[in-house]
């Protein structure tokens, strides 16, 4: 599904990714862990297509297409979803409007018909129960005045509604209490299927108790320095990253 080869990237003048390679097959869940400043968020933004994040070398292919040649919105329609570490507040645009506009924009780009308003409403009402969002919050501005946990749950709601193929979740577990973490995990697990893949970017092993990864990677100094099974996450929790960075 996703093949990243020898990716070098910079933000402004600063080179952050320095030869990162990663292959994600359909149905797999990958966890990427690593110390602060290793380039985890940069990878997410580069995949989603944030301006100012520039690939200087290497390639990213998504379902056989050159991902980096696509506009941000084309990537969304192709099935890439980035769960933001810091979701953005957009006062004046209601969550409901935003969800519908996003979904229809993606469908239109894929040549699919727009969804009926009533069908959509019923669909969204079903999804919000999964993440514990009150119906009244749909009428509020996107993330406006939401707590940190509500913002993260709202990211998961958007993911459930948009049904992407590749989900890159950037520290979606940070700052969540146990109940919220369970809801977020349930949301991610509900999306798991043989056709969909997940990249979990996280600092904490805790999330991985709820969402079982197939492969765990350590990202340090701009590239993957170690990969392993779920047991690697436990080891990282025990020993930290120092032993890997020194290596």
């Amino acid at each position: 599904m996703l093949t990243i080869e020898n990716l070098h990237a910079r933000v402004g003048d600063k080179e952050i990714l320095k030869g990162l390679s990663l292959t994600v097959k359909p149905g797999e869940v990958h966890a990427i862990m690593g110390p602060n400043g290793a380039g985890k968020s940069t990878l997410g933004h580069l995949l989603a297509g944030r301006e100012g994040y520039e690939c200087t070398q290497g390639s990213v292919s998504f379902e056989g297409r050159d991902l980096l040649a696509l506009e941000t919105e084309e990537r969304a329609a192709a099935g890439i979803f980035l769960g933001f570490q810091y979701p953005v507040e957009i006062p004046g645009v209601s969550n409901m409007y935003f969800l519908k506009a996003a979904m229809n924009a993606q469908r239109k780009r894929r040549g699919e018909p727009e969804i009926e308003a009533t069908d959509f409403l019923a669909f969204v009402r079903m999804q919000i129960k999964k993440v514990g969002i009150e119906p009244a919050m749909l009428q509020r501005g996107v993330n406006e005045g939401f707590s940190g946990g509500e913002k993260k749950r709202n990211e998961i709601l958007q993911m459930l509604v948009l049904q992407p193929k590749l989900m890159v979740l950037d520290e979606t577990d940070s700052g969540l209490d146990i109940d919220a973490l369970k809801m977020v995990s349930d949301g991610i697990n509900a999306m798991r299927s043989p056709e969909r893949s997940v990249i979990l970017v996280t600092h904490y092993q805790r999330l991985l108790d709820y969402v079982k990864p197939d492969i765990v990677h350590v990202l340090a100094r701009g590239r993957i320095v170690k990969s392993g099974g779920p047991e690697l996450a436990l080891e990282l929790e025990e020993r930290g990253y120092g032993w890997l960075e020194a290596a």
């Binding site: 989603a48 941000t72 969304a76 957009i90 645009v93 409007y97």
Partner: protein
Amino acid sequence: MSAASYQKAWDQLPETLRVARAGAWKQFVAKGFPSKREEDWRYTDLSALNDARFAEATETSIVATTLQNWQSLVFANGQRQNGEVRAFETPLADDGITALNAALTRDGLDLRVARKQKAEPLHLLCLNSAAAMTHLRHRVVLEAGSEATLLIDTRGDDSATLATGVLEVEIGANARLRLLRIQDGGQASTDLFRSQIRVGRDARLEYVGLDLGGALVRHDLNVQLCEPGAYAEVHGVFAPGGSTHVDTHTRILHQAPHTTSREVFRGLVADRAHAVFNGRIVVEKAAQKTDSEQKLASLLLSPGAEINAKPELEIYADDVKCAHGATCGQLDEMALYYLRSRGLDSDTARNLLLFAFAHEVLAKVGAEDARREMERRLANRLPGSTAYEDLI
């Protein structure tokens, strides 16, 4: 100062009116239009008006409908389309513009709402076209405990029209006025409007304006909170594009104790447009326990766009709460990216953010029909307006 068009209009007035208004005319001739040398007019240059020529009023070519279920009064190039021409006096003439208006006005709205009555909402529609010159003067009196909703809506064609307008309002004790304005006179129009509003004991003013720009648009909005408990909301959006000019001067005068004002203005300045906002708040010595807030935020949407924004606070009382803030910036790139990462194309995302930014003010309009009309008129001004049809 009596260029041909103004002199001619004066000469055409009936003898009796010329006698009654000789003072106002004399004042206009002596003062002329305000000049850029005056601090209040520093950024708005009226000198082109001195020699401008305007056509005789004719019928208008503009087709426009008034809001359903609202009472309506329509003026086409200053000519009343329904009801009786009102007879009135024109006391307010304190500068060249109001003096010209006082000398030449022939008609206007005269609304009086009796004690404890609730008036039907009224859509006052002024259609200005074919390079005509109009001078309307409106008077609104709300007696104690009464309520009214008034939308003053100006539309124009693409010709160089001149409209001066004066609105004098008295809001009696415990009365409530919802006052709305849409200024949409066309790119070449000149619209000089004065609102002079007195808010009495425990009375409320709720004003929301939408100014879409013209060659020269100026609104002087003066609110006097003259008795204890008086309350005013004064909100607005200005969204000039092309090479238009919108100047808003608000002056809120707290003259009595326990008076409250809330003011939120949002600006979207595009292309080579120029916006001026001056928000003055004066708290007089007697006005203890005043509670006042003023917030201005604007977005400059292109390198050629310009805004001159100035909050002015004059506080002579010592036990007051006054807050103010002004910001000016560009669209939030992170919000744009967030919307695009969910599938919206960049034009749609951008327009949605612009609309949402301005809409936070329009959302304050309580009368739903009027709010929708204001939303539509703003949306028409932004490119790609279909993108947010569902939003409104």
